[in-house]
């Protein structure tokens, strides 16, 4: 029972990070039809923001805020320099552009900062444990679940109750119609990128607090999983992205925890087979968007 409870916390913690990254991908995709594979590099840049702030002697809390800001700035810069020029291009051209941006940034990180991982040390009290009855929980996984829930709640409020949010949802439905109504599309797209950057920044904070280092490839693997999560949830569906993120995280952790040793090497294959099975059952994803886009 204790083991199951602890593994559930682990699963929700990992699922939360995937959910945030998947949501960042989905927000941008729903509006400009771009699957942004450079999303991982936004996360990595946030991580380097934290690292450099600590190196320059900022207190840890300030470093986290700088990390978040760095991710937002990177997302906006990416939109302005690479993706705005490609607005309206077909999905494949946009995809290839995002791969190019991703590769360029990885090489810049490698040569400009370091090819090796760099350490990030937060105060020891941040990575302690606490007891509930007989069960010990880690502070970082718990905080990461709370932060994920808070971020998702904040985003839901923003999308449902603010003008910018409504404009974004409207843009996701029909960006041409939005333009005709006199809303500045560039601004809506920029806000969408800024939000996806913020989510990547929060993911970077949780990731570095859990993993203790940043390297040029840091964002690549989680974003790959997040991409699978958005497809599983339904491409372009925000709720689907969150659900997909949690689903992948939970299946991954449970497979790691409970698969017998002989099957352990097939863990990733089993997780992906489960995703394929889910897509065969619901080809448009678990929670399809109103205007469906199959992968």
């Amino acid at each position: 029972m204790e083991l199951l409870l602890q593994q559930t916390v682990n699963a929700l913690s990992l699922g939360g990070v995937y959910a945030m990254l998947a949501l960042g991908l989905a927000i941008v995709f729903s509006i400009v039809r771009l699957i942004n594979f450079a999303h991982g590099e936004i996360m990595t840049f946030g991580g380097y923001g934290i690292f450099l702030s600590l190196v320059f002697g900022f207190p840890p809390v300030a470093a986290l805020i700088i990390g978040l800001a760095a991710a937002v700035v990177m997302a906006l810069a990416m939109e302005r320099t690479a993706f705005r020029a490609m607005r309206g291009a077909d999905v494949v051209s946009l995809l290839i552009t995002s791969f190019a941006v991703s590769e360029i940034l990885k090489v810049l990180f490698q040569n400009g900062i370091s090819a090796r991982p760099v350490p990030i040390t937060f105060p020891a009290s941040w990575s302690g444990t606490y007891q509930v009855g007989d069960i010990t929980f880690g502070v970082v996984p718990t905080v990461s679940i709370l932060v994920t829930l808070a971020a998702l709640a904040g985003l839901t409020f923003l999308l449902r109750r603010t003008v910018s949010g409504m404009a974004m949802r409207a843009a996701a439905e029909d960006i041409e119609m939005l333009r005709l109504l006199g809303i500045r599309a560039n601004r809506v797209v920029a806000v969408a990128f800024a939000l996806s950057g913020l989510l990547a920044g929060i993911a970077a904070v949780i990731w570095t607090a859990q993993r203790g280092s940043v390297d040029p490839m840091m964002g690549f693997f989680p974003v790959l999983k997040a991409f699978i999560a958005t497809v599983l949830g339904g491409l372009g569906s925000l709720g689907g992205a969150v659900l997909g993120g949690f689903a992948i995280g939970i299946v991954e952790v449970l497979a790691q925890a409970f698969l017998p040793e002989t099957l352990a090497p097939y863990r990733d294959a089993i997780v992906l087979a489960a995703v394929i099975a889910a897509l065969l059952w619901r080809p448009d994803g678990l929670l399809p968007a109103a205007k469906t886009s199959r992968s």
């Binding site: 682990n10 444990t129 859990q210």
Partner: protein, 383 residues
């Protein structure tokens, strides 16, 4: 047209008889400048080139054979590595120094096999890598030597039950803990559990929870995980309140791992060498620092330099630059003089027998010398 033909004929003749007429020794170097091998190939190449430059300034290998290096980037990609090795052979390479891992070295060795071109890995430590053929050599103390020395230290500390954390994704991350386990068991210890992870695994909390729930609890956890997996693992382990002793391979001997703060306090790892005051190693660091402004902060630099020393001694012993003769001479070197440590290929399967250092990490992020020992070839776990 005639001129062109004559030029082509001359070029082909030079290519065919390249080794015979060479007044310089051509060494091809695979060096990943990006990707997962860059952190190891980069320093190893810097140390190698530094010592080759020093030797060239003094007249070349053994004072009379200038060295020309051809360096090509592999981007840590095995297919790219195979391609660049072929290119370097086409450009006349008589010796190949391959990337710092078993898998790219094995791939390179398949290409160099036809011409018997000696192939030495920058820092690959999986003993299986030399099984490709008699022209393949390790340079760093192999995983089974490291595992045996570390297991013997762990038993001396009274540790009895080990939990192994390994990844089947690379020969290093799989082999290291297994060699440790086999040596540990032969010394009376017990392997009570194992966990498998994938390289770049996002999350280690599930593994940590399983270790925490183990009954009886292990008194030592051993992993050959590298960055960024090791930092993620140790953060998750200590974050879950597990304070069990952790031990690992030489890949933990990096400033990144030492920079992780309190979570790595007391972690013990193997290492290829330690720069004691007044040693040849300390002198190498001083010379390198003076010449380049960079402080070698890991053993890959000095091991790169030792590869230059190994090649020099093999060429001297062979009395020729013929690839097969150099390979044969290398395999017979006994107690060759190195900077990190001396090396013996004779009697081994071409993974050199060298000293293994056991070191610990202190709370303030320093490396502390614990012991230096050579594994007993008779009791080494077999690949």
């Amino acid at each position: 047209m005639k001129l062109k033909f004559a030029f082509l004929a001359a070029a082909s003749a030079a290519a065919i008889t390249g080794t015979a007429v060479a007044d310089e020794y051509v060494i091809g170097v695979m060096s990943a400048q990006s990707g997962y091998l860059a952190p190891y190939d980069g320093p190893a190449y810097a140390g190698f080139q530094f010592c080759i430059d020093e030797k060239n300034a003094a007249g070349g290998l053994n004072g009379n054979l200038k060295v020309k290096t051809i360096v090509k980037d592999t981007r840590s990609d095995i297919a790219e590595g195979v391609k660049v090795v072929q290119e370097m052979i086409d450009e006349g390479a008589q010796f190949i120094v391959s990337s710092a891992d078993a898998d790219p070295t094995i791939a390179a060795a398949q290409i160099t096999m036809a011409d018997n071109i000696p192939t030495m890995t920058f820092a690959g430590t999986a003993p299986v890598l030399t099984q490709v053929g008699p022209h393949v050599f390790g340079s760093y103390p192999a995983d089974n030597q490291q595992g045996a020395v570390l297991a013997s230290y762990a038993r001396d500390q009274g540790l009895e039950r080990v939990w192994l954390v390994k990844s089947p994704d690379s020969a290093y991350t799989l082999g290291g803990p297994e060699y440790f386990g086999s040596a540990f068991e032969s010394l009376g210890g017990e392997v009570i559990g194992e966990s498998l992870y994938s390289l770049n695994q996002p999350d280690f909390s599930a593994i940590v929870t399983n270790i925490k729930a183990a009954d009886p609890a292990p008194d030592v956890i051993v992993t050959w995980a590298w960055e960024p997996d090791f930092p993620a693992f140790i953060k998750a382990l200590r974050g879950a309140g597990v304070e069990t002793q952790v031990m690992g391979g030489d890949v933990l001997d990096t400033p990144t791992v030492r920079g992780l703060g309190e979570v790595v306090d007391g972690v013990v790892h193997t290492s290829g060498g330690f720069p004691d005051e007044g040693s040849a190693y300390a002198d190498f660091i001083a010379r390198f620092e003076k010449a380049t402004g960079t402080t070698p902060d890991n053993n890959y630099y000095v091991n790169g330099c030792d590869i230059a020393n190994m090649i020099e001694q093999a060429v001297a012993a062979a009395g020729s630059t013929d690839p097969a003769a150099v390979s044969a001479a290398m395999a017979e070197i006994k107690d060759g003089e190195g900077v990190m440590s001396n090396f013996t290929f004779a009697g081994t399967d071409r993974m050199p027998l060298r000293d293994v250092v056991v070191a610990g990490i202190t709370a303030d992020g320093k490396k502390e010398f614990i012991l230096r020992s050579t594994a007993d070839p008779e009791t080494l776990p077999k690949p």
